[in-house]
Amino acid sequence: MNKKATLIVHSGDLDKVYSAFIIGLGALSMGMDVSLYFTFWGLERLKKGNLDKAPLSKMNMLGLGRWMVRRKMRQAGVASLDKMLKDFVELGGKILACDMTMEIMGIKRESLRSDVISEYCGVGTYIKEAMESDITLFI
């Protein structure tokens, strides 16, 4: 059985979601299985058309910081979150969505990217995935 990484994506901030995808893609590329468990603010990024519509966790400055960081990232040739998500799914990564958070935040399945979500689930699924994992992170 492959080694495995399970990441909780609690934050919806642009920089942290980038970290989650970069780590997830790195693990897939090293031959691991990977699950990203989206909950709370992270779920905002799974709404249709919302993947990169995110603020920075620090120095957002009403969007100015975000604009500057995105410009720097483009100049440095950093891949878009769209490409990262597409590659993540192509390499067999699993996207899990927390259904309890969906309920309390009033998020309907129709508003989420069902094309990339492999499962709607609760904490039990996360723990089961985490028990089988060699790496778990909370982002």
Partner: protein, 73 residues
């Protein structure tokens, strides 16, 4: 046996590693994948991934800041 070329010059982390993995997944057993790039950490990390997946590292070369890595699936 096919030889598959992946050009990742001027791409940064994690693209060369990810593109190498994508090409290796698509390749058939025995195919050779050659990745070229300029991102220095990837030059070290692609061989780490090759080892972790139990594949065969054939060659690592670098000329003028452009490296190329050959892997057999």
């Amino acid at each position: 046996m096919a030889e598959i070329k992946v050009d990742c010059r001027n791409e940064t982390c994690p693209v060369p590693l990810v593109e190498a993995r994508k090409a290796l997944r698509r390749a058939a057993k025995g195919d050779v994948v050659e990745v070229t790039g300029t991102h220095q950490s990837s030059k070290k990390e692609i061989p780490m991934a090759v080892k972790a997946m139990g594949l065969e590292l054939l060659e690592v070369e670098e000329v003028g800041g452009v490296w190329s890595i050959k892997i057999r699936k």
